[in-house]
Symmetry: C2
Subunit: 439 residues, 2 copies
């Protein structure tokens, strides 16, 4: 048996036990991890220093960027934050064991639909040292087993966190083997084949990486490959709001999935609005690429090509297009967007509703920056990911994305034969005002 298969089997077996570990045990294990992270910060920083040293060499060779290096680097403060994050997951409301539907099917025959963990989660992520403790905590909180694969540049840091979390949680009564780690591309390839052992994949990384995973596995994948987000400035926009949102959505943090990549502007407001936002973009170092009509107003910018409408720049670049109506804007978003987050700026209610209901994206906004699309800002506590798919979960996903349901039927020897034929008993189908946990 391969190492990966052995680990997946161990995780699968642990997951069946973990599903029945009480909330109290899961929470105290998380609290123990939080304490232990602070206690062992010396060892964690030591491991991280090795990763940083190797990464600095790669940076000198121009193989990784400065910001990549900064994200990799831990310090005492960051370790403290990670410990607090784990502690806060322990305090979140339990997402499992909730009765979502209870029905009296007939006298003495009761139905309960109850939330429960999914089973085994596969998490493949980039080289950021905070991801492993975060996703492990969320999985333990929701009683799921997890198989981790982190970016190789954070190898030593990941090993330190993994070792600590596994030791502390297993000592605290969490089933042995609930958390597993694999390394290397070959092991990921193997993992993708284990559709009978792994229930859900949560990949993070580049568009190419997510697409590779989606195309090479039968395991359901939750997440997004890219965020091509739009801001549409309507003819009836408040000019100040239009400028505030268009600027924020592009400039505030351009390297993230919910930053805007394309600005759509109604022709009636373009001559007034575009020179103002262009001046602000210019000062912020934003490169603008416009369609033919835009270039009549801003003749000094670059010409946008068809490829621009389909590109997630993740950088200080924006494409600009003038449209004749909200319908043209909606069509453009549905054709070129990535179903992530799009915003309209308007004071006209009817136009707003056309855009909000017409755009087929996970988040659609009115007079607000696309940058608000985020699990923490949406009040979900912690974010498992942002889904641009429509199955299971859509948009920013909290703990409920790690949760499924199970039906319990409680009878007294009930048989279906009694509900068939000329003397058939009738189902009562009355709502039951009882919780499964009260049984």
């Amino acid at each position: 048996m391969s190492k990966v298969l052995a680990k997946a089997r161990e995780a699968r077996e642990a997951s069946l036990k973990l599903a029945n570990v009480p909330e109290k045990t899961r929470n105290s294990a998380l609290a123990q991890v939080a304490i232990s992270i602070v206690k062992n910060k010396g060892k964690i920083l030591e491991a991280n220093a090795k990763d940083v040293q190797a990464a600095e060499l790669l940076h000198k060779q121009k193989k990784i960027s400065w910001s990549f290096l900064q994200r990799l680097k831990l310090n005492e403060d960051k370790v403290g934050n990670i410990s607090r994050m784990v502690g806060s997951v322990a305090k979140m409301e339990d997402s499992i064991g909730k009765t979502v539907y209870a029905l009296q099917m007939n006298d003495g025959l009761e139905l309960y639909k109850v939330t429960c963990p999914i089973g085994v989660i596969g998490s493949v992520f980039e080289a950021r040292p905070d991801v492993l403790p975060q996703v492990s905590s969320l999985c333990l909180k929701s009683a799921n087993a997890i198989i981790l694969k982190g970016g190789s540049e954070a190898k030593n840091t990941n090993r330190a966190f993994y070792g600590l979390i596994r030791r502390e949680t297993e000592n605290a009564g969490i089933p042995n083997g609930w958390i597993q780690m694999i390394e290397g591309r070959e092991e990921v390839k193997e993992l993708l084949k284990l559709s009978d052992k792994i229930d859900l994949l949560l990949p993070r990384g580049s568009k190419e990486f997510i697409t590779y995973i989606q195309e090479n596995t039968r395991i359901p994948v939750l997440g997004h490959a890219e965020g091509i987000c739009h801001v549409y400035v309507d003819a009836h926009a408040d000019l100040k709001q239009a400028i505030d949102v268009s600027y924020d959505a592009k400039v505030q943090y351009p390297a993230v999935c919910n930053a805007a990549e394309t600005l759509l502007v109604h022709s009636n407001i373009a001559a007034e609005f575009l020179p103002k936002i262009a001046e602000m973009y210019r000062k912020a170092g934003v490169e603008m690429r416009g369609d033919e009509k835009t270039m009549k107003i801003l003749p000094w910018i670059k010409r946008a090509t068809e490829a621009d409408w389909k590109t997630e720049y993740l950088d200080l670049i924006i494409s600009i297009k003038i449209v004749g109506s909200v319908d043209e804007a909606v069509d453009h978003v549905n054709k070129y967007g990535s179903k992530h987050t799009d915003s309209i700026i308007t004071n006209d209610r009817k136009t707003a509703m056309r855009f909000l209901t017409g755009v087929d994206s996970s988040s659609v906004m009115l007079n607000a920056s696309t940058r608000f699309s985020d699990g923490y800002r949406y009040g979900l506590g912690a974010e498992v990911g942002i889904s641009t798919g429509k199955i299971h979960a859509r948009g920013p996903v909290g703990l409920e994305g790690l949760t499924t349901t199970k039906y319990y039927v409680i009878g007294k020897g009930h048989k279906v034969a009694d509900y068939i034929g000329p003397k058939a008993k009738m189902f009562t189908h009355k709502p039951l005002h009882k919780k499964w946990s009260e049984k």
Copy 2:
């Protein structure tokens, strides 16, 4: 462009419009279909007669079974039932436009999570003439576009229903092209590749067919490949309940996915229970296949092999195994079952809970027949399918399986920059007691 791609594009375009068709229009279109089915019953029966004629020939050549032929055959009564079924879908509660979460993020910044259709559903199903009107009605009710592919033996019946439904709904104001039909295996192959046009597949059919689909598409698949359901008779079982449920689960309708295939019996009750149920099974013509221990009690039955524990008979055959504990029963179910439906018969509360929480199946039952696992019996109104997967929907799935959610964010020019840095505004994250539909 291929015909299938053209149809999928048309469906995708229609789905964007259909998402905003009011409930009233969708319901009156469904009511119109129900009326028209009765009006056109002559034409429908004529088309069906052609299918039946061809099928009778196949039956004589022993290529299809008698029960297959019976299921294919329509009559006036059955057409009336189909019409009533469509009418009842019109009267179901709307599953879309519901506010599931509303939050004040900050002054003037509001978040709504609202249920909405998934988009385009692909439905591939066996030769039963009632499936096409049923699945089309459920899709229209939930504002989804649909691409249909039915069993070729019902070709003429399917064409008659498809033509009628398309004509009546488009006349009633449903967007042109919302319903599409394809025929032939080559077209299915093409359909499976259109992961950017189709959001969800609902396949029905044999285990081989479902597995083929799961292995050959990136589109999410909802359903089940097989139902290997267990009844476990515990040492503390009520003998009458054990007999009633074991008999019902196997005999009442053996050809369906929620019928039992394996009987697990605790060793303490086996000598008393097995001869009684065996006598009843014998009279009903059930072939029994036992493990070594079972054959000591029932020496006249067949010996079960390893393959029996993994087999969905869909017939009057049952495998029987004696176990030493509830834990052994749970392990057997989790190892050999198909995560569909399993039942324990016991009066011991602690043992019951071990089984209910330990078995990793979509429905787990206490003292009730596995045959109850069904959307109608669970009070879901209509059933889209039964899912043995854990993602999106699990167990019998009603209209909510055709529904996803969308986030709406309503601001007044809010920008994220105000919530960052030393002077950051704080999110209020107060529950909003408002519905999206009241906006």
